[in-house]
């Protein structure tokens, strides 16, 4: 079973992503703030972490930088989830060391396909 941590303050988006990921058989953890997300990431060492860029406590970018620098978190796939324009999202993802990004709003099938694709690329 794949462990997924969602760091997302928007309850609608968090619920939607959780439900889609659980439907695909993954174990899901949700944090509404960046600090809480880092604590859960250390405890659970998730395989995938989805990080919203706009969080109420820490910037999503700072959260990713902290996760990447934290040995206790392991080596998860980190995906930026953002409503930022695609060019900015890509730039941020590359600069901060996330493995890719998913644009919001997303279509259900696109979201599921992207998660599968990230998992497959890691298995290869």
């Amino acid at each position: 079973m794949v462990k997924v941590l969602i760091v997302e303050d928007n309850p609608y988006d968090a619920r939607l992503m959780s439900s889609l990921l659980r439907k695909d058989g993954h174990e899901v953890f949700v944090a509404e703030e960046g600090g809480e997300g880092i604590v859960i990431a250390r405890q659970e060492q998730p395989d995938i972490i989805l990080v919203d860029m706009g969080l109420p406590d820490l910037d999503g970018q700072t959260v990713i930088a902290l996760l990447r620098d934290d040995k206790a978190v392991g080596d998860p796939i980190i995906i930026t989830v953002t409503a930022w324009p695609p060019d900015t999202a890509r730039l941020m993802a590359e600069a901060y060391g996330s493995d890719g990004y998913i644009s919001k709003p997303f279509k259900v099938r696109t979201f599921q396909a992207k998660i599968r694709s990230f998992l497959e690329s890691r298995r290869e």
Partner: protein
């Protein structure tokens, strides 16, 4: 509430001071949910924001119709100027005059204060907001860049220098001598309130010197202000940035509101800073004739 009920209920603009911070934060987050660069806030962050930027809640406003909250906006007040900020309308309630009602309220409040100008910032690409501000005679003043530098950037070289770390009033003594024009966010009244401001003063062997002020937080450096006092601009700026990032190598860095034509921009980009997005600073001059 249905569109029909909303259209029947009169739109009212109430002072934001009538609402709790929790309600203000909630309506702000809901209004900005689809914003071009979403910047949600917690209650704690909202409280800090109001304090740092001299937001007057009695002059800030919440738009309401039939008991339903539709939008929010805040007004910062400083000598001879006001600042419109955190303006947003709930997505489903847009195109019904809510933004216009809030703008008229802020212009009226600013006139009541007798200030000479109203300032605001709009994210470049937010066409609807930009159009709204034009409608009320706000004009573009300059472009302001929001730059980031991740902590994973490689190290870089700099000319030999000596650095001194400053904090407390020594930092503000430097900021008082700043020669660049600050935005509302990094103007002295804001920086005095945030706490935790530090500065590094650097002297090169050839006599070049300057300083960089910054807000030091556990994971992030922000509110950077750079000033080259003597010598080659590029060499001194590079030494300042080298001093900063070798002292705090694991900090994420955010530099807000650097003027797009700043002569420090090139040196910043050469050591890993990049433009995340751009704001346009707009101003409306008020006449009282």
């Amino acid at each position: 509430m249905s569109a029909q009920r909303l259209s029947l209920a009169p739109l009212t603009v109430r002072p934001a001071s009538e609402f709790s911070l929790k309600i203000l934060t909630d309506i702000y987050n809901r209004a900005r949910i689809d914003y071009i660069i979403p910047m949600p806030m917690s209650v704690r962050r909202m409280e800090e924001y109001l304090r740092f930027y001299d937001v007057d809640l009695s002059r800030s406003a919440v738009a309401e119709a039939g008991g339903e909250l539709l939008g929010v906006g805040m007004l910062g007040v400083r000598p001879d100027r006001t600042w419109i900020t955190r303006l947003g309308v709930i997505p489903a309630k847009r195109r019904r005059g809510v933004g216009r009602a809030l703008m008229r309220h802020f212009i009226r409040e600013s006139r009541n204060l007798g200030v000479s100008r109203i300032i605001l910032e709009v994210i470049k690409g937010n066409v609807a907001a930009h159009r709204l501000f034009h409608r009320y005679d706000f004009r573009e003043q300059r472009e302001l860049l929001i730059l980031r530098r991740p902590p994973i950037m490689p190290r870089f070289d700099a000319p030999a220098y000596e650095a001194e770390l400053l904090y407390g009033e020594a930092v503000f003594a430097l900021l008082e001598k700043r020669t660049t024009t600050p935005s509302w966010l990094d103007d002295l009244p804001s920086l005095r309130k945030v706490g935790g401001m530090h500065a590094l003063r650097v002297t090169l062997r050839n006599g070049g010197c300057g300083w960089i002020a910054f807000h030091l937080q556990p994971y992030q450096l922000s509110r950077l202000v750079i000033e080259v006092e003597e010598g080659d601009n590029e060499a001194v700026t590079r030494a300042l940035l080298h001093s900063l990032h070798t002292r705090y190598p694991r900090h994420d860095t955010k530099l807000e509101n650097l003027p797009a034509d700043s002569h420090y921009r090139q040196s910043l980009e050469a050591v890993g800073y990049f433009v995340a997005f751009t704001r346009i600073e707009m101003v409306k001059w008020l006449s009282y004739a």
